[in-house]
C-alpha cells in the first residue's frame, strides 16, 4: 500500500515534469525538468529492486549527462526558442494522436506480455552491485568490452567534431601553424 502511494506520487511528478519539459521555452528550464524526471525514475527503480541502477541513474544520468547538456546550453548561450506557427490541422489532430501513441505502446507492452500480474514474491529480488557485476563480468563480458571501444570512438568523434575547423588535423596533414585562439 505504501509502495503504491510512493509510485503514484513519483509517477505523477515524473509525468508533470515531462509535460513541463515540453511547455518550457528556455532550454535550461527543460533541462531542469528532465533532471526531475530522472530523479523520480530513480526512486521508482528503488521500488522494484533496482538499487544499483537507481544510484547509477542519479550519478550518470542526472549527474554526468545532464551536466553536459547544461554546459552546452551555457557555452552556446542558448536563448528562448522561437515559436514556429503550426497549422490548425496539426493542433487538432496532434492531441488525439499523442493519446493514440501512448495507448498503442501501452497496449503492445501489456497485451503481448504472457505472464500476467501480479507475481508472488519468492525471496528478495534486489539488483545489488555484486549481483549485477556477476552478470556483467561473466555473461555479458563481450558486450561490456565492446562498449569500451564504443566510448573510445565517441570520445574521438566528440573531439574531432567540437574542435574548430582546421585544428583537428592529424600529423600527416599540411603544416599549418596553430592558430591563435580568439575568445
Amino acid at each position: 500500500m505504501f509502495q503504491l502511494v510512493l509510485f503514484f506520487v513519483f509517477g505523477t511528478i515524473a509525468v508533470a515534469a515531462a509535460v513541463n519539459l515540453l511547455a518550457q521555452r528556455h532550454p535550461i528550464n527543460s533541462a531542469l525538468s528532465l533532471i526531475v524526471v530522472m530523479a523520480c525514475l530513480a526512486t521508482l527503480f528503488l521500488l522494484i529492486g533496482a538499487e544499483f541502477l537507481a544510484a547509477i541513474q542519479v550519478i550518470v544520468y542526472a549527474g554526468a549527462i545532464m551536466v553536459l547538456f547544461v554546459f552546452v546550453i551555457m557555452l552556446l548561450n542558448a536563448g528562448e526558442e522561437e515559436r514556429t506557427p503550426g497549422s490548425r490541422v496539426a493542433r487538432l489532430l496532434g492531441f488525439p494522436a499523442v493519446v493514440l501513441l501512448a495507448g498503442l505502446v501501452a497496449w503492445t507492452l501489456l497485451a503481448r506480455n504472457p505472464h500476467p500480474v501480479p507475481v508472488e514474491l519468492t525471496g528478495r529480488f534486489v539488483g545489488s552491485p555484486s549481483a549485477i557485476a556477476q552478470l556483467l563480468f561473466r555473461d555479458f563480458l563481450l558486450p561490456f568490452e565492446v562498449t569500451s571501444v564504443l566510448i573510445l570512438i565517441a570520445i574521438m568523434g566528440a573531439v574531432v567534431l567540437a574542435s574548430p575547423a582546421g585544428t583537428a588535423t592529424g600529423p600527416g596533414s599540411p603544416a599549418e601553424p596553430p592558430a591563435k585562439r580568439e575568445v
Binding site: 503504491l4 553536459l68 542558448a78 514556429t84 499523442v98 501501452a106 507492452l109 556483467l136 568523434g157 567540437a162
Partner: protein
C-alpha cells in the same frame, strides 16, 4: 505491491511525451533532451520486466542503454556545437541546407 502494468503504462506515457517533444520543439538541445526522455522511458520498461521475470538481465541491459546514451550525448552535443558554429543558430527550422 505495485502491479507491473502500472509501470508499463507510465513508461508508455513518458515515451509518448518524448516523441511529442521531439516533434514540437524547435531547439536542437531540447530535441536531444526529448530523446533522453524516451531512453529513460525504455529503461523503466526494462526494469519493470526484470522485476516481473525475476531476472537481472534486464537491469544489465539498462546499464548498456545508459552507456550508449552517454556516448550519444557526447557526440550529439559536439555535432550541435559544430552546427552552431557554422549556422549561428540552434533553431532546427533554419538548419535546412546540406551545404553552406
Amino acid at each position: 505491491m505495485v502491479p507491473i502494468s502500472y509501470y508499463l503504462v507510465l513508461s508508455a506515457i513518458l515515451f509518448a511525451l518524448g516523441v511529442v517533444g521531439f516533434l514540437i520543439k524547435r531547439n536542437l538541445i531540447t530535441l536531444f533532451m526529448s530523446i533522453e526522455l524516451m531512453l529513460n522511458a525504455v529503461n523503466l520498461a526494462f526494469v519493470a520486466f526484470a522485476w516481473q521475470w525475476k531476472s537481472l538481465n534486464g537491469q544489465v541491459f539498462v546499464f548498456f542503454v545508459m552507456v550508449v546514451a552517454a556516448a550519444e550525448a557526447a557526440v550529439g552535443l559536439a555535432i550541435i556545437i559544430a552546427v552552431f558554429r557554422t549556422r549561428e543558430t540552434l533553431n532546427v527550422d533554419r538548419v535546412n541546407l546540406l551545404k553552406l
